[in-house]
Symmetry: C2
Amino acid sequence: MSKHYEALLNQLHKINDIEKAMAVLQWDQETNMPAMGAQRRVQQLTTLSEIAHTMFTSAQTGELLAGALEEQAEADFDSTHASMLRVTQREYNEQRLFSAEFVSRKSAITGTAGAAWAQMRADNNFADFKKHLEAAVAIAQETAEIRTYDTEPYDALLSQFERGMTSAELRRIFDEVKRATVPMLQAIAQRSDRVDDTILQQAFPVAEQEAMCRYGAESIGYDFNRGHLGEVHHPFSTSFGRDDVRITTRYAPDYAMSSLFGTMHEAGHAMYEQGIAEDLDRSPLGEGASLGIHESQSRLFENQVGRSLGYWQAHFPKLQSLFPQQLANVEVADFYKAINKVQPSLIRVEADELTYNLHIILRFELEQALINGDLQVADLPTAWNDKMQSLLGVTPPSDKQGVLQDVHWSQAAFGYFPTYTLGNLYSAQFMESAKSQDPRIEQELAQGKNTFLLAWLRENIHQHGNKYDAAELCKRATGKSLSAEPFLQYVRGKFGELYGL
Amino acid sequence: MSKHYEALLNQLHKINDIEKAMAVLQWDQETNMPAMGAQRRVQQLTTLSEIAHTMFTSAQTGELLAGALEEQAEADFDSTHASMLRVTQREYNEQRLFSAEFVSRKSAITGTAGAAWAQMRADNNFADFKKHLEAAVAIAQETAEIRTYDTEPYDALLSQFERGMTSAELRRIFDEVKRATVPMLQAIAQRSDRVDDTILQQAFPVAEQEAMCRYGAESIGYDFNRGHLGEVHHPFSTSFGRDDVRITTRYAPDYAMSSLFGTMHEAGHAMYEQGIAEDLDRSPLGEGASLGIHESQSRLFENQVGRSLGYWQAHFPKLQSLFPQQLANVEVADFYKAINKVQPSLIRVEADELTYNLHIILRFELEQALINGDLQVADLPTAWNDKMQSLLGVTPPSDKQGVLQDVHWSQAAFGYFPTYTLGNLYSAQFMESAKSQDPRIEQELAQGKNTFLLAWLRENIHQHGNKYDAAELCKRATGKSLSAEPFLQYVRGKFGELYGL
């Protein structure tokens, strides 16, 4: 190891330690912290974040990086050494773009807007939220200018979350999803009586739900020896290093399945982090390649595994033993149908596998217009409701169930929502490739197991951490660029059969 | 506020943020972390500790401090301003004594010795632990030389935990405790059949124990809005700032009272931290004055309140309602006797209120001899067993139940144990003064309440945080220097009555 590289790595390790310490503080904030502790916690996080940012963007880091790049003998793109320098250099250049003044101004604007959103969503008060959202759009536009872009400002925002993806490419793919999904939904609406999910709407005791969630996470391969399941209001997963990757869930006493599928979703994210190669841990390479790839892992385990007939043929008896009163007399085939019911609805986070992407496409289209200046914040509620009607055939009775439902825009996180649908598309493409490369995967899935699938993901996705861009990773794993086709084929097959289309 | 002072305070706040972040990581380590997460956690803590130490001992801090001291107009010893500079200056001088080389060498020695201790205690293997303990003694001796001292090296170690206390003063006080306690114990041994505690040794379901512990902590004034009760192997309390002070306990399924009294003990510590004045928070003044004073608060609530007849006359019905099967037919007077049974035993952490101090005095006497070089580590097991026999009349059947029982010496924490007995003595002296200053306190205690007692402690102890040395604080609160007399009077009264002496 060269001298500069070694010193750089040492610096990166320490910065990563601070970032992971912040992750612990944030996790604790959601799981255990008394509300009164919030003020000091913000101060602690602010201080750590300042220290990490200062260390990373320091002239010292720049010199070590330059020295290490100069010393670099080999140019093997795939090596940890070359990848570390490539990724660090890119991160360094990006973070250096932003002045401390800008960072703290943005943080103040989004802090205020986030708090305003919580209050004004509760009050169904878009009129007073408007000015906060305008400020968030303006700071996002400023962010885009600082990051720079070739053709449209939205590209600069998108690339914060999905490096290398462009607005034009996304429009092409999302339009394909939209064109295929909307008529499918109309056909399903004619046959909605084919699937009944009332069996899911019963009282399910929380203690048994917890046992069920632990069982569910373990059954798909989440490693509890390097993990932990906690309870929160807004579930998430987080990593403090590959050997301590935690998941959280929320228990609804009268609807058990949301805690289970939520757990499988977070376990999918967490298994990605648990599978990153050991030598990438504690560095900028020790994380997922993009939010879209991360979401592919959560959606794959939540939906393609967790909502499959094979899984439940194997595991439904366990569920029945936990909830004999609720499920003893239910057939697994009916249960499988119930958990896959398609039903256009108002709220994104409650949407089924098919309508979910339309919620995202709606946001994607509105975001571009806001950032380009084609849509004013004042006109947003009407634009939202019109799009809900044309895409999903439903109209929100209030802004609370419409434009005010998500926190993200108040955080100026424009360009973030598309990664959810990208995750769905990637997951289907990965699954298709995995099955074709290893026939044992399909056999196992039919028996409710996924050890070979997980091995394929470990080998092709997880171990690489943040070495490659999403597009590169997709090409290496599947031989092709991202396409909507595998996803559309998957939903056509699954819901075609369920609804007899 | 002067310019230098303001800048210094800003620096101290950030350092405190890092230290509190470390406290969160340590808390999580004991409560939630999967074992596999330990390696990364150590790295995270090491990095944060290095950053905090570097920031605090930097030339920049020194300059701000010097500037602020120069600008200081007023010299009001009691003001936050003057106290902040005084305490920071002292801490700065002390921390600057130690080179980075020494800190990391000491940390390596105690890290190795701590791990060796855990293994060798389990194996009852003093022979192999010997060399680790010798290294710990040597590094403690080196610490004493670096800290410097007037008459004996043990003073320099003691003052790490109890600023201003000397070995000579401690010997005088502890000898008084010993002279009074040993004959009392002999008299009690003749009447041991007067107290029967078999009712405590039953199965007590853990869920109800948890409810009991929450009730117990709340009943004495612990504020759950700024707190949290967790479960761990080795209970402790910790502060992340005065508005998030946590307690932990451990549940023994067949002996309920240890979780309750442990909770009251930790709640006593935590109420101290919750009561520190707001303007001292986030600084070197925002912590307890010394370990002895801290322990006085835990022991006061665990013993003088929690093991009092008044408390149980009021709260025993609640306990009976939680454990009807175990306690419905028990008289409160018998319960009160049972929780106060005196019984010489081998293990410090299980000792009763009267024998506890003899366990401490034994360690105090052996520690001084080890540090002075009068006792060799090789001769320690024999010296331990001889002292156990002469002080408590029992001899450990194995080193595991003797000299190997505590982790502290492997951590080179010589000078630490005495603070436990200091806590007992301070607690009695504070209680005596509180009662004489406010007669409502005794009335309330007889009814199982302690709002006036807590108000007295807030006013005289808690709010001052780390502004004063223990001796100063004691003098201000009680008008006198520390004396063993109030404690001896308390135990003579309480156990004299219980055992009819």
